[in-house]
Amino acid sequence: MKLQDTFLFSFKTVTSYPTRSFLIILAMALGVAAVVVLTALGDGARRFVIHRFSSIGTNLIMVLPGRAETAGSFPGATMGQTPRDLTLEDARWLGHLPQVRRYAPLNVGTAELAAAGRLREITILGSTANLLPIRHMQLAQGSFLAHGSQYSAQIVLGAKLAEEFFPDGNVIGQHVRLADRRFMVSGILSRQGETMGFNSDEIVIIPINHAQALLDTTSLFRIMVEVRNRSDIPSAKQAIRELMIQRHDGEEDVTIITQDAVLATFDRIFRALTLGVAGIAAISLAVAGILIMNVMLVAVSQRTDEIGLLKAIGAPGSDIRRLFLTEAAWLSLTGAIFGFMLGHVGSLLIRLAYPELPAWPPAWASLASIVIALSTGIIAGLLPAARAARLDPVKALSGR
């Protein structure tokens, strides 16, 4: 029997039992669609987070006071002594490293903002002019902190605060009070929403020296460093560590986080998660496979007469086996194709419903689900096909 005829004949068989075939195809399609949609969701979440995190800047290194982890060789070596402060002086030195394009020291705290008869507790950020380019912030109006403005009493308002305090829109040049200090509004941030823990629409930014005085501290919350090139990140990290150790009397009491490392960690976590949900969804493919096996076994006993007859008119066992295998292949392949389309439509609907979630099914998942569906179907067909091929034609025809 020619292969082409085998495929045609088993295709005709599949269409001769529409209800049965439809149910199997549906089960297979749902399994494949589940894999496609769930991986699309997982990968979408990954892209979403990575994108959000990359949007806060590029080639970033963050220097934080204190050690995040205990030193491996001397556990608790720094215990009992508070870590040395991370100072503006440290930041300035850091700025002289050749790999560093720019840096922005950062202080964070809360204070009461008073203007136009309103009063409200808000988050304040102390920094320098460089914060704007480093964090990829956008201004809606006015200008950011000027260079060399450490001591001048400028303030940049978050978009929502600006609206709240100055509903008439006349903001730039107005005066506001933070605690007991007067500031002049120089700019308004454009709306950004939540980024990495801050809602930048509800903060104010003031020069670092003002912030430190206001918050009564000399210790920085962190220093944000932007290096010149991506390839500079490792050497910059090393140089920063050495500089800090040197400036802090040989003590390694800062934590250096690179954006790359954080991104890579997020990436790994989300990929593992996606793989995990894909695996769970793939179980439904196995269930569909078992369904195919069961239905094919039933088909073999239903069609004993036909199998016996095919043998009597000259079909060898190998032909019979191939007929049943291709039948299983048709069922699973059709299921896989429908599932693939269903999954892609599902992902499209998710993207339409949540435009900010880039729920694109990864190519590997679509491909893998189709391959798994097809091979599960064929594997499930093996046992019934072998049983059909072994059938004794005399018994089959006599109905014994």
Binding site: K12, I313, G314, P316, G317
Partner: protein
């Protein structure tokens, strides 16, 4: 030519041993018309199945057209069946989901004949068996006589040298049965070896050679 030498076929029913064929020696020349008669359970069907290579004897030799086919592999036997043997059964054994034309086409598909040639040969055969009007009907829509005609058309489309019919009229009324027999005899006249197993004395007597069986033995063989 069919040559059986000391063919024995034993079935086991629990402890019991049934000798369906017991050292059968039989030679049937090409083009003969043979009937096999005997009481139920005497081994007629088993003999036909062994001749048709559908069943394997437990001992003895089988020579078909000067070739020893006793120990052929399953695939080789299938090939011999396809090329040299045509089966006609009491219960027709048509594939219910296929049309008459598709049922007749089956052996051609198994033989790997290209579709264009298949189409022509199926049409010729349908015409020859007066089934052209029923080509697109499924077995359920055909009468018993029509079904058996489809089955015979299917059995002979590859021009086998031997046509083996196991009680071909057993499910038919007398008149249709006679028509089917006439059809088989026509094929015999065209040169095919015809072996018919039957209960029907009248039908059996029409054959040129009549073999009688009982308990797995050949008890009569008259020309």
């Amino acid at each position: 030519m069919i040559q059986l030498t000391a063919i024995t076929r034993i079935f086991h029913m629990g402890e019991q041993e049934i000798r369906a064929l017991d050292h059968i020696d039989l030679i049937i020349a090409s083009g003969e018309y043979v009937s096999i008669m005997g009481p139920s359970g005497s081994g007629k069907s088993t003999l036909l199945n062994v001749i048709g290579l559908l069943d394997k004897p437990d001992s003895g030799r089988y020579q078909l057209d000067d070739r020893d086919v006793t120990d052929l592999t399953e695939t080789e036997q299938a090939r011999v069946r396809r090329e040299k043997i045509g089966f006609v059964f009491q219960a027709f054994h048509l594939v219910p989901r296929l049309t008459a034309a598709e049922n007749i086409e089956l052996p051609l598909i198994l033989a790997g004949i290209p579709p264009a040639e298949r189409k022509i040969r199926v049409e010729e055969t349908l015409h020859a068996f007066d089934l052209s009007k029923r080509a697109q009907h499924r077995p359920a829509e055909l009468s018993g006589g029509q079904r058996q005609r489809v089955a015979i058309a299917r059995a002979t489309i590859l021009r086998p040298t031997a046509l083996l019919a196991d009680e071909p009229t057993g499910n038919l009324d007398h008149r249709t049965g006679s028509e089917v027999v006439a059809l088989l005899e026509n094929l015999h006249h065209a040169g095919t070896t015809l072996i018919v197993v039957t209960h029907d004395r009248e039908l059996g007597l029409r054959a040129h050679r009549r073999i009688g069986m009982r308990d797995g033995f050949i008890v009569a063989d008259e020309q």
